[in-house]
């Protein structure tokens, strides 16, 4: 019963976020809000940016790429030299090169794949100035791309799609910092640590047990980790760690933070293109997929763990408890992990590796669908818009019209760009997994044997190509092979999608608008929502069915067998 109320609370808060955060986002990116102008103006002066001067898609993309490149470099350098920098109470040394590369790319691409254990690898300064910074900035970049694409739909005959620097700065200043700061207070109030004092040594007088407890500036990092759908936690155990996610309240708050911006962006989208119903249709498609996956995964995790069953040692009345925290249990853990894999977050409050075959399948396939339900901050919206374009193209053909979406004709250029952007991810996942299972360095990664080992590798590249960052953590990712290959997969998964998306924004912005008529395929109706869901499922299903068959499906069907 309690879980049902959790869902009700979540739904209510998200509904409010959709309406109010949504219109706030629209106001921010349309430049209608200026109350932080006193911070903005000096920043633009510093950057040498004329805030009203807009950019073509090429310049927008150029600025984004160069900025991200600089961010990778800076992050890399910071963690390479952390040993010589302050705020390093554990005197941790430099992060090794391959791991630094992987980590820098990971945080800049909003992936937050972690081939390291935070508490024993990163100094406090690294966690703050290298990683937390990118958790803000990469999220703002994602929203900027989505907003640029939305402008493409909203405008007619425009050569520009906005100004990257303005979108970036406004995203951080008006949206991410204020919300994260408020949420950070709640995290700390509930028990998340926030200190620069270094590890604490405690002694239990009752048992004589002595324990050194890692601490750090955790609570406020946790807020942006979830809000920016980043997922990179301070500790190795991520959201399962009591200092990151101490209570049921913070668990729900995390889920709300993960989902609120992606959900609200659909409202902002509707607002900006002049029809909230259009945004509601996208949200409906997202919501249907999310609810289906949540139900599927929750039911799966409420089943017994097959390995535990096989030991004949214990009755599992409440489902699979391996890798789960007592305070969350299978249901809240499913909610958290589904929310994080249906977005680009990837944080976990329970070990994904130890989920039941179908529970793990739920997390894995959530990412395989392209993370559109509701997807990462910005990336969710722009990815589902790419799917919408393909849906409209096929649907439009079926009613005998050159397809149009929001009045923009979808022609060969748009189809080319959308298809390219949608297909990059599956190709990267499949190709990298194929290489990993073929080379010695890759085969050495998985902790588990049998199909689960295959799933661990598949999961790793699915997660990185989708910029998710969640892991079947049994995989030893901190090897030269996985660090380098993963870094490339993350870069491709981010920028090989963003660049065509921005090109699409440019192409759409330049177009005129075709007025809607009776013969127009209505994209704010249930039929479109159904078709969109169908296209998302078919594309994901067709590309990943064989791989999924060899991983979680085999595991599921292997009744009574252990590996």
């Amino acid at each position: 019963m309690g879980f049902a109320w959790t869902l009700v609370a979540l739904a209510v808060v998200l509904a409010l976020a959709w309406r109010f955060l949504g219109s706030y986002l629209a106001a921010v990116y349309q430049g209608r809000l200026t109350f932080l102008g006193w911070v903005e103006r000096p920043v633009y002066r510093l950057l040498g940016v004329e805030p009203d001067a807009e950019q073509s898609w090429q310049r927008y993309a150029g600025a984004l790429i160069v900025f991200s490149g600089v961010a990778v470099l800076l992050t890399y350098l910071l963690i390479r030299v952390q040993g010589s920098l302050p705020l390093n109470p554990q005197h941790l040394g430099a992060v090794p090169p391959a791991l630094s590369w992987n980590t820098a790319v990971s945080f800049v691409t909003n992936t937050n794949w972690q081939n390291y254990a935070g508490e024993s690898t990163m100094s406090y300064l690294s966690q703050m100035a290298a990683l937390t910074v990118q958790q803000f900035v990469s999220a703002a970049v994602g929203i900027a791309v989505a907003v640029a694409l939305v402008r493409g739909f909203a405008r007619r005959g425009s050569p520009t799609i906005g100004n990257f620097w303005v979108d970036l700065v406004r995203g951080v200043l008006y949206v991410l910092v204020p919300i994260a700061f408020l949420a950070g207070i709640v995290f700390v109030g509930q028990g998340a640590v926030q200190t620069l004092a270094g590890p604490a040594v405690v002694h239990n007088h009752l048992t004589g047990f002595t324990q050194t407890i890692a601490r750090g500036p955790v609570g406020f990092m946790e807020a942006i980790k979830e809000l920016g759908t980043n997922g990179g936690g301070f500790f190795n155990a991520n959201g399962a760690h009591p200092f990151e996610n101490p209570t049921g309240v913070t668990n729900l708050l995390s889920v709300i933070l993960i989902l609120c911006i992606p959900v609200a962006l659909t409202y902002a989208f509707g607002k900006m293109v002049g029809s909230v119903r259009q945004g509601a249709a996208l949200l409906a498609a997202m919501g249907v997929i999310f609810c289906a996956w949540l139900a599927f995964t929750t039911v799966a995790e409420s089943q017994p763990n097959p390995a535990v069953t096989a030991s004949h040692a214990v009755a599992q009345h409440h489902g699979n408890m391996e890798g789960k925290e007592s305070r969350f249990g299978p249901q809240s853990s499913s909610l958290y992990n589904v929310a994080s894999t249906q977005t680009s977050t990837g944080s976990v409050d329970a070990s994904a590796d130890s989920f039941t075959p179908m529970g793990g399948f739920g997390m894995l396939t959530g990412m395989m669908l392209g993370e559109v339900s509701p997807g990462g901050v910005g990336s969710g919206l722009y990815t589902i818009l790419l799917f919408a374009i393909i849906t409209v193209f096929i649907g439009g053909l079926m009613i005998g019209r050159t397809p149009e979406y929001l009045g923009k004709k979808i022609q060969s250029r748009e189809v080319k760009l959308a298809a390219l952007a949608v297909l990059v991810m599956p190709i990267v996942v499949v190709a990298f997994t194929a290489v990993a299972v073929s080379v010695h360095a890759g085969r050495g990664g998985p902790l588990n044997s049998g199909p689960h080992g295959f799933t661990e590798i598949l999961y790793a590249f699915t997660s990185q190509a989708n910029n998710n960052g969640s892991a079947f953590a049994g995989l030893s990712g901190n090897s030269a092979f996985y660090n380098v290959a993963g870094g490339i997969a993350m870069l491709l998964g981010r920028f090989a999608i963003i660049v065509p998306t921005l090109a699409l924004a440019g192409a759409l912005a330049a177009k005129q608008v075709v007025p809607a008529g009776l013969g127009t395929f209505r994209t704010d109706k249930p039929l479109f929502v159904g078709l969109l869901i169908g296209v998302i499922l078919i594309v994901g299903g067709l590309t990943f069915f064989p791989a999924a068959a060899l991983g979680p499906l085999v595991e599921q069907f292997s009744h009574g067998r252990l590996f």
Partner: protein
């Protein structure tokens, strides 16, 4: 007022009855099928195949399995190879059938072109006989009754009746005369009477006939924008399935399974959208073909596609919405005049009037009052209609009877010292408001009353417009009438809007305004002054009877010169797009079942537990793979008729059409292969193939 002859007053035809050039070829003519079978093999040439990325992959795949077969021959590998080659052949066959139908039409046309002699007139007036094929643009030829007109041209002297049945299939001769809008003649048509002098307007080898032959043959067929977009999507799908399938080899090896290359190729071919890939070009060719069957020549495939997108139709009132001519409907006498007297006078005034309007007045008078056509005395004089007097009539026995425009009669009566009754204005205005044309009748200085000439809206046209509205197309009636009249007819016919007192400039402005609003516009036209608007419109259908300028400006030519065709053209365009969309959906939806057939088969030796995915319970791994491949090949053949005929288009709202097609081709596309793969598997088992 005089109606144009030689156009539009022919009865409109049922659009689904093919005639003219496209006559008499059934969907599957035996001869065409035979030639197509040969062409299918010829098209195996890789240089041809590479143009279709999807089928090219199949061809390459079949080469791979062939190599594998040679290395390790077995029933299985041989069967797969054969069926892969058949898949390519079926695709080629589909295209060849579509092309073959065009070729057959082209042959008929070509026969007409051959061996015509021309009588070339030199500058000094001397005549020489030359072969038609030697005529150059600007040459002047003379044609007399019985001659074939050697090339396209413009009459510069004379008038003749011409039999154009060779091109239009229409047996009634048409009048062609120098000057005006009916001066164009087409090579290959025959002069039936009189003598005309023609200036050749076509370059050598570029006559209308040549162009037509090229078009129906599909010789210079280019991919249309929408076809390109779809090809990109299909290529992208093919591109993603390639790594998906190739990766199964290492995936399998990691899992301890050896995956056969033949099975991987089979899986790849089953997954890539071969159905639509095989039929795509056939659909395009067949779309053009369907237009030809309706006697419309599209000068580009792009225009056919655009027709499906048209949101605004500009339709000429006369001939499209109304029958060509107005008909007398009522007599309204002014106060104090007997209606019968008016009818008699009206009939008298019209006896000499051979225009359909004039005839209709005579007929109406006879019907209403049984007024017989009187024998006229010897001393009668007809007064024909002239542009200056704007009236016509008869002078007989000292009585002058006139009918004409209200203003003209008013002037005539007052000139004779008569007075105009007070109630006339009211009657005239009332008619105009109702969309009729009033003709005032006067006998000497006395105004008798008014004849109401009514436009007769074609039967069924209102329903047609309702259908168009349902599919989201706005109809605009173009007329030279005054706004009041136009509004009334527009109301009666059910068009959405009208342009009254239309001039070519006003038409052009309307098109530009619609296009500025992002709409695609289609129109028909025949006159030289229509040419700019025809060129501006997205779909400009020129009447074959029209001027050369008009035909060159438009992107379609209607051989029947029937403006109502525009509606058919739009439907053909929509049908073309729907067919593509439906088969794409079907093709992709098919993949689900194929996965369920092949994936369990692929890994069954390593993971027998994957048998759970074999929901069709197929006989064996090999029969499962082979059944999927056979289904994949046969479905192409099964869908050729659909591709050629086009899926059924019923005018309805977008949602209704979409819902129907998603159900039929999407959901159906998921279910059908499950059934047929199972049946093929049963058949293979029963015949002990396995």
């Amino acid at each position: 007022m005089a109606p144009p002859t030689g156009r539009s007053d022919r009865p409109s035809r049922q659009p689904d009855q093919p005639h003219g050039v496209a006559q008499a070829r059934g969907l599957f003519d035996r001869e065409i099928l035979g030639q197509a079978a040969i062409a299918a093999v010829v098209k195996l040439d890789p240089r041809v195949q590479v143009r279709n990325p999807v089928m090219f992959v199949v061809l390459v795949g079949s080469v791979v399995t062939l190599a594998e077969t040679i290395a390790h021959p077995s029933t299985f590998t041989i069967s797969i190879t054969v069926w892969l080659v058949l898949t390519v052949l079926f695709a080629n066959f589909a295209e060849a059938v579509a092309e073959g139908r065009g070729k057959a039409q082209a042959d008929t046309l070509r026969r007409m072109r051959s061996e015509t002699e021309a009588r070339l007139v030199a500058a000094d007036g001397t005549e020489t006989r030359v072969a038609a094929s030697e005529l150059a643009r600007g040459d002047v030829v003379v044609c007399e009754a019985g001659d074939l007109i050697p090339s396209d041209g413009e009459i510069i002297e004379g008038i003749a009746s011409v039999d154009e049945s060779a091109i239009t299939g229409e047996s009634a001769p048409v009048i062609r005369e120098s000057g005006g809008d009916r001066s164009a003649v087409t090579g290959g048509t025959r002069v039936l009477s009189d003598r005309i002098v023609v200036r050749i307007t076509a370059e050598r080898g570029k006559t209308f006939l040549d162009r037509m032959i090229g078009l129906v043959e599909g010789a210079d067929r280019r991919k249309t924008p929408n076809e390109i977009a779809l090809t990109i999507l299909l290529a992208a799908l093919t591109l993603v399935f390639l790594p998906v399938v190739v990766a199964l080899e290492p995936f399998g090896r990691f899992s301890g399974a050896t995956v056969s290359v033949v099975v991987l190729v089979a899986l790849l071919v089953c997954l890539i959208p071969t159905t639509i890939g095989a039929l795509l070009s056939a659909i395009g060719i067949a779309g053009m073909d369907r237009l030809v069957q309706r006697n419309v020549l599209a000068l580009s495939g792009r225009a056919v596609e655009a027709a499906g997108d048209v949101q605004t139709l500009l339709l000429d009132k006369t001939g499209t919405i109304t029958l060509g001519n107005r008909m007398a409907a009522t007599f309204t006498p002014v106060a104090g005049v007997d209606e019968r007297r008016l009818a008699e006078a009206a009939q008298l005034a019209s006896l000499a009037d051979e225009t359909p309007e004039g005839r209709s007045i005579v007929v109406l008078a006879k019907e209403r009052f049984d007024v017989r056509e009187r024998d006229l005395g010897a001393d009668h004089v007809f007064v024909p209609f002239s542009a200056t007097t704007r009236m016509s009539g008869l002078d007989m026995d000292g009585v002058q009877v006139r009918k004409g425009a209200a203003e003209a009669i008013r002037r005539w009566v007052t000139d004779q010292g008569g007075t105009v009754p007070d109630d006339l204005d009211g009657i005239v205005e009332g008619y105009a408001r109702a969309g009729s044309t009033p003709l005032v009748v006067a006998e000497g200085p006395e105004v008798l009353g008014t004849i109401e000439l009514k436009d007769v809206v074609k039967e069924g046209i209102r329903e047609r417009f309702d259908q168009l509205r349902a599919v989201g197309i706005r109809t605009v009636m173009i007329t030279g009438d005054n706004p009041l009249t136009a509004a009334a007819i527009a109301q009666e016919a059910g068009v959405d809007d009208f342009l009254a007192e239309a001039t070519p400039e006003a038409k052009m402005e309307l098109i530009k305004a619609e296009q500025a609003g992002g709409k695609l516009v289609a129109m028909t036209g025949d006159g030289t002054n229509d040419a700019p608007a025809l060129a501006q419109a997205d779909v400009g259908v020129a009447m074959n009877s029209g001027t050369t300028a008009a035909k060159e400006a438009g992107n379609m030519v209607d051989l029947d010169s029937n403006p109502t065709k525009l509606i058919d053209i739009v439907e053909v365009g929509k049908q073309l797009l729907i067919t593509r969309g439906a088969l794409t959906t079907f093709s992709i939806a098919n993949d689900v079942a194929k996965y369920f057939a092949i994936i369990p088969a692929l890994f069954v030796s390593t993971y027998p537990q994957l048998h759970a995915l074999d929901i069709m319970r197929l006989h064996s791994a090999q029969s499962a793979v082979l059944s999927a491949v056979i289904f994949n090949a046969l479905v192409i053949v099964a869908l050729i008729p659909l591709a050629l005929r086009g899926v059924r288009f019923r005018p309805a709202g977008a949602s209704a059409i979409l819902r129907r097609n998603v159900l039929l081709y999407g959901v159906g596309g998921v279910i059908v292969p499950f059934v047929f793969i199972k049946l093929i598997d049963l058949f293979l088992t029963a015949t002990r193939w396995y």
